[in-house]
């Protein structure tokens, strides 16, 4: 088949629809009866907030394209309008599934477990009514800002993603209905617990407000009141060429973001028609963008419900990451790294070694410099504290802070300023590129010269998400890697590209070429009758060139096994094209986040990790790093990780020829959950170590 043939639209799936399919897999976890109830609530909450983000970024950007009259077709041959139509159709179905899960499965289960969740204030009994009304007057009323609309007052500006209550009012003295709205305050807990001796009774804040709406508009009769929620276009595109100061520009953009075009309106299913008409007109939104919801709006509150105390039996036992043996032994971290490369598999293994790597470096008198890229860090991050301390200790600290991390800008600016105050050299990203790579370099002056210690990772330097995301980290002091790391930071500081790279491959320089080369090598080997094979674990696959190369390799007979958590635009099982490709997706308790690549290479196999997915944005518009895992023992460990994921029969779903995902046929197989296996393995290691620790000599007691 020639090159042109392989680019035909029908060989690819649309990425947005593929993403919705991924969210449906998450929803599947909420529907999975084998999961504990509270875990199911959490998964449902995740689908809701996922969908929010999806609308704000992806749908918004498609909307922009439609508005701009942009008609270019996507990888699967769909115009922006066609994609929007398809997305709305699929989303409506998904939302229906969300709420049927909530109403039909989860609510009854909550009730049978002693949690009475009142979805409507009409369900309150007299005593409860009294409580919520008092609660309203004491806590809620003072912070509400009712906004009425009439000829002198225009339709209020409603904040993006805010929950509001819309009401129709009738002036007691005049005729005709007027519209009014009040925002449900975000400062108060959305879940209100009503005291009850026998069970846990919960109601949502908006229901309490709705019930007390008349107290806000004393001269009016409330005809009807219903919660609604809007979603606006929030895609943050920064005109970098125009902005002299990137930082200021982003600060400006954040404020602007609130008031974009409305792209989705969620409203109670039984909302009054007149009210809906007003909203529709004022918000300028079409029918397909209106979602009538059969239940509470914005299910992300379920995440808060997960935190409810006293229901541990309905949750999965929280996993405690294990501190690897080598870090429990005596000695400083540098001598440990000097002994051998150290691989960390989070969250099974603790993230704390990474923090102590930076912390020890900040205090070590021989350390000259610490350089790090930061993309998303946790609030109150110990890494930030350590970096600031290092600067105060007179070390040169250079931090690249990526301000363009989605939705995190405001947060990032605060601590970036803090670092600057402490004396760190802070680089605020690169013009036109997002710095997505995760790399830390510690330069140390030792007895026999300068030594460089490097941490490379697939996940962010975020101690909070490191407990939830699966990621790989590598600590090494191999000289070629150290040289490359120095070069990376020189480049990030604005200096020219080094004349040569030793081990690391960088996007957007030529990481894509490197991947194409590696895939192409397998193709060649297969054609030459040598052993060939590819295993790749990524979050998303939607780069056309990569997919094409994979098809080509498959056609040459290369066995390709892909573990793609989210979007996958590649189609499997196409005759003569992708028969040798299998795709599985793992959605489990931990978010699969590591990117691992295995290439058979005619017997001399190579294993790599990367910060990048196989997406055009990763390969072309971001600074990413691909690094090899070279020590034999570590390579084996990586292979074991891949093998285990490929053997998963519990959380894995297989992509089928028609583009749907199905669960693994468990018949004749022992159920295997890869994430659990990793937990057990790490724990077993831990256990074994404890025994060794307790091996102490016991002095004999003197016999009197």
């Amino acid at each position: 088949m020639d090159k042109k043939e392989l680019t035909r639209h029908e060989y690819y799936s649309n990425r947005e629809l593929s993403w919705l399919a991924f969210n449906e897999r998450v929803l599947g976890e909420a529907r999975d009866k084998t999961n504990p109830l509270f875990e199911r609530l959490k998964f449902l909450a995740i689908t809701a907030s996922n969908l929010d983000e999806f609308f704000m970024i992806r749908v918004a950007s498609l909307k922009d394209m439609v508005n701009a009259g942009y008609k270019k077709k996507d990888i699967a041959g769909m115009t922006p309008q066609e994609q929007l139509d398809a997305i709305h159709e699929a989303t409506h179905a998904q939302v229906a599934l969300q709420y049927s899960t909530f109403n039909r499965s989860l609510l009854p289960l909550l009730s049978s477990n002693g949690i009475c969740f009142l979805t409507e204030h009409e369900q309150l009994n007299a005593k409860q009514q009294e409580y919520v009304d008092r609660y309203f007057m004491e806590n809620v009323y003072p912070v509400l800002t009712p906004m009425a609309v009439d000829s002198s007052r225009p339709f209020p500006l409603l904040r993006n993603r805010s929950l509001n209550i819309g009401a129709l009012l009738k002036n007691k003295k005049k005729s005709g209905a007027e519209f009014a709205a009040v925002q449900v305050p975000t400062g108060l807990s959305r879940i209100v617990q009503i005291p009850d001796e026998e069970q846990t009774v919960l109601i949502l804040l908006e229901e309490i407000i709705e019930r007390n709406m008349h107290k806000l508009f004393l001269n009016y009769d409330v005809i009807c009141a219903h919660p609604f929620r809007i979603m606006r276009n929030a895609d943050l595109t920064i005109e970098e060429d125009e902005a002299a100061d990137l930082l200021k520009e982003i600060e400006k953009q954040i404020k602007k973001r609130q008031w974009g075009e409305v792209i989705r309106l969620e409203v109670e299913e039984n909302a009054d028609k007149r009210l809906l008409k007003i909203l529709k007109k004022e918000l300028d939104i079409k029918d397909e963008g209106i979602y009538r919801i059969n239940g509470p709006l914005d299910l992300s509150f379920l995440m808060k419900m997960y935190g409810l105390k006293g229901f541990d039996h309905l949750k999965k036992k929280p996993y405690e990451p294990v501190l690897p043996k080598v870090f429990r032994e005596e000695g400083d971290i540098f001598s440990k790294i000097r002994q051998q490369d150290i691989l960390l598999h989070h969250p099974y293994e603790d993230f704390s070694p990474v923090i102590s790597f930076i912390r020890e470096a900040s205090r070590d008198p021989d350390v000259l410099a610490i350089k790090q890229t930061l993309y998303r860090v946790s609030g109150n991050s110990p890494i930030i504290a350590a970096l600031a301390e290092a600067a105060e200790n007179g070390k040169q600290v250079c931090v690249l802070v990526e301000l363009k991390a989605r939705f995190d800008e405001e947060h990032n600016i605060v601590w970036a300023r803090m670092l600057e105050k402490a004396g760190c050299h802070v680089i605020y990203g690169l013009v036109g590129l997002k710095t997505h790579c995760k790399i830390t370099l510690v330069v140390r002056r030792e007895e026999d010269g300068i030594k460089r210690y490097v941490h490379l990772g697939t996940g962010n330097y975020n101690d909070a998400t490191a407990k939830l995301y699966t990621d790989i980290g590598l600590l090494t002091c191999a000289e070629p890697v150290g040289e490359d790391a120095t070069a990376v930071f020189n480049m990030l500081s604005g200096y020219s590209e080094p004349l040569q790279w030793n081990r690391l491959s960088l996007a957007p320089l030529w990481l894509k070429d490197r991947f194409l080369e590696l895939i192409g090598r397998e193709e060649k080997n297969a054609l030459a009758g040598k052993s060939a094979g590819i295993i790749a674990k990524i979050n998303s696959l939607c780069d056309k060139d990569i997919i094409e190369a994979l098809y080509r390799a498959s056609m040459a007979g290369v066995q390709i096994r892909l573990i793609v958590r989210g979007i996958c635009c590649l189609k499997v099982g196409m005759q003569g094209i992708s028969e040798n490709i299998s795709v599985r997706s793992i959605v489990g308790d931990f978010l699969e986040h590591s990117r691992i690549f295995y290439f058979e290479n005619a017997g001399a196999s190579e294993v790599y990790c990367a910060s990048a997915d196989w997406m055009p944005r990763n390969l072309e518009r971001r600074v990413e790093i691909l690094f090899p895992v070279e020590e034999e023992a570590l390579k084996e460990r990586m292979l074991h990780i891949l093998d285990t994921l490929l053997a998963d029969t519990v959380k894995a779903r297989i992509l089928t020829e028609d583009g749907t995902y199905i669960r693994v046929d468990k018949r004749g197989k022992i159920p295997l959950c890869a994430q659990e296996v990793f937990c057990e393995e790490a724990a077993a290691f831990h256990q074994q170590d404890k025994e060794i620790k307790s091996r102490v000599f016991i002095p004999e007691e003197r016999i009197e």
Binding site: I450, S496, L499
Partner: protein, 507 residues
């Protein structure tokens, strides 16, 4: 700590670069960091004679950053050198002072020959590889923007080094106007190169076997790194293949495919053509691009001076070899010059306590001795002035401009009257006076005998320098001649040289 950290800064015509090195007894010289910033200082200098305010601003900013990086590494010492872009500005001293005030860095200007010598040292720092190549006969081709420097090696020693005005930027500029009008840009480049190379070929390549060429430049070396995946040696054939390929693709596309910056693309073709023509002229079969830069040379020189690295190659010998070859070209009297060299060295060594000068001055005196009669080639009458002019016009690898000026003055004042007023600074002036004094005495001794002087014995007694000469033939020239020659010595050092002949008992 046994390890020393050194920073080498190169303020180049197109780029500011800094390399951080580590010197240790165990590991020798090791590069730790290499920072580069592109800034075309040369464009300003070559067009207007001055570096623009904006560029100076940028220059200082980056140097300031370099200085911070140096602090990070706790650098023990640094050297910062500027090359032609600063050398050719009319206000270089002002500029350097400004840099010093704003960044605290002391930047020195290198003469072309010093710069080339450092490149050459950088190549030599690659040790064994270098020895092997020059042992087989090699040409070090140092390609710059304005000119190229070709140094020929035969059997381990430097034969000659020549500067040819065939810089890639110069070639590009010369053909700039023609480019749109012609489809034979490459041919024009080739013609241009061949024209200049033919003279060189006729003069120096006659019966030499050049096995390899060693390239020092910014473009071909880089490309070879990429092409050979880190391998630095390719055959001439491979190189021709590459140039053919490039001509087919066009330099822009080629640059893109190799990951070379677009701004460099326009210099890629002139570089490639030039190397190709040199390959043809020398009939070399290998190309080695060690990928060294000025910074390597700066560090090597520092390490050598501070004795962190042992000399693998005798660079002084190269300078002398150059002088001998130069003398040959101007048909110097080899026998006589060698004698003069010997006597001058002896005299220098014996009067060390009196003159207090060092190794470098000794080398300059030695070179002056070797070149003392080159002016005669042009005019017997004005030999002194002609000698001066010839030396001032001939670059000698390894000598700075100031040093070359000393040598030229020694040759001049050996014969012509000493000019006390025309020197650049008092220190240099004094140096020239001292060396001239010694040189004249040496010349006086040699010229007082017809044949070879067997032995010269020196003795300082009271206020006399007693020179006892053992020679077969008697002094034939009148005593007054030596007295005139020696008077300067007395003036400078307060000691009067006295010439005596050793009594030969057999006669």
């Amino acid at each position: 700590m046994a390890v020393k950290i050194f920073a080498a800064i190169d303020v180049g015509s197109y780029e500011l670069a800094m390399k951080i090195f580590e010197f240790s007894a165990k590991g020798g010289m090791k590069e730790i960091d290499h920072v580069r910033h592109r800034i075309e200082l040369g464009t300003d200098t070559y067009n207007t004679g001055k570096i623009s305010h904006e560029r100076v601003e940028e220059l200082c900013e980056v140097l300031q950053e370099f200085s911070q990086i140096m602090q990070t590494y706790h650098v023990d010492a640094y050297r910062a050198y500027a090359t032609s872009a600063v050398r050719e500005t009319v206000n270089a001293p002002v500029l350097l002072e400004q840099i010093k005030l704003r960044t605290g860095l002391k930047v020195e200007v290198l003469s072309n020959s010093e710069q080339r010598f450092m490149h050459y040292k950088a190549v030599a720092s690659r040790g064994e590889q270098f020895s092997r190549f020059i042992g087989e006969g090699a040409a070090v081709v140092d390609i710059g923007g304005g000119s190229i420097q070709i140094s020929l090696f035969d059997n381990d020693s430097l034969v000659t080094t020549q500067n040819i005005r065939l810089g890639i930027l110069r070639m590009r500029e010369m053909l700039m106007d023609l480019k749109p009008k012609t489809n034979h840009y490459e041919q024009l480049l080739e013609e241009l190169a061949d024209n200049q190379l033919s003279v060189f070929k006729r003069l120096y390549l006659k019966d030499k076997k050049i096995q390899s060429i060693i390239i020092v430049d910014d473009y071909i070396s880089y490309i070879m790194q990429k092409l050979g995946k880190g391998q630095q040696i390719i055959t001439a054939e491979q190189f021709h293949g590459f140039v053919d390929e490039m001509q087919k693709m066009g330099p822009e596309k080629c640059a893109a495919s190799l990951g070379v910056a677009q701004e460099s693309a326009s210099l890629l073709l002139p570089s490639a053509v030039l190397v190709r023509r040199i390959l043809k002229a020398t009939k070399a079969v290998n190309i080695w691009a060690p990928g060294v830069s000025l910074a390597d040379g700066i560090a090597y020189e520092y390490g050598e001076k501070e004795k962190y690295i042992r000399n693998r190659h005798d660079f002084e010998n190269d300078i002398i070899a150059c002088a001998i070859n130069m003398s040959k070209r101007y048909q110097g009297d080899r026998e006589r010059n060698r004698l003069l060299e010997e006597v001058a060295m002896q005299l220098f060594d014996h009067t060390k306590k009196i003159h207090g000068m060092g190794k470098r001055e000794r080398l300059l005196l030695r070179i002056a001795a070797l070149l003392n009669d080159c002016g005669r080639y042009v005019s017997l009458e004005a030999a002194a002035e002609c000698g001066y002019s010839i030396i001032m016009a001939t670059e000698m690898i390894g000598l700075s401009h100031a040093e070359r000026e000393i040598v030229a003055n020694l040759v001049r004042f050996n014969k012509a009257g000493f000019d006390y007023t025309a020197k650049p600074d008092p220190e240099t002036s004094l140096k020239i006076a001292k060396l001239t004094a010694i040189f004249r005495v040496a010349d006086g001794i040699c010229r007082s005998y017809r044949t070879k002087v067997k032995e010269v014995k020196l003795q300082v007694r009271d206020e006399e320098l007693l020179i006892t000469v053992d020679a077969d033939e008697k002094i034939t020239l009148e005593k007054g001649f030596f007295g005139r020659k020696a008077s300067m010595f007395e003036e400078v050092f307060g000691i009067r040289p006295v010439l005596k002949q050793k009594k030969n008992l057999q006669v």
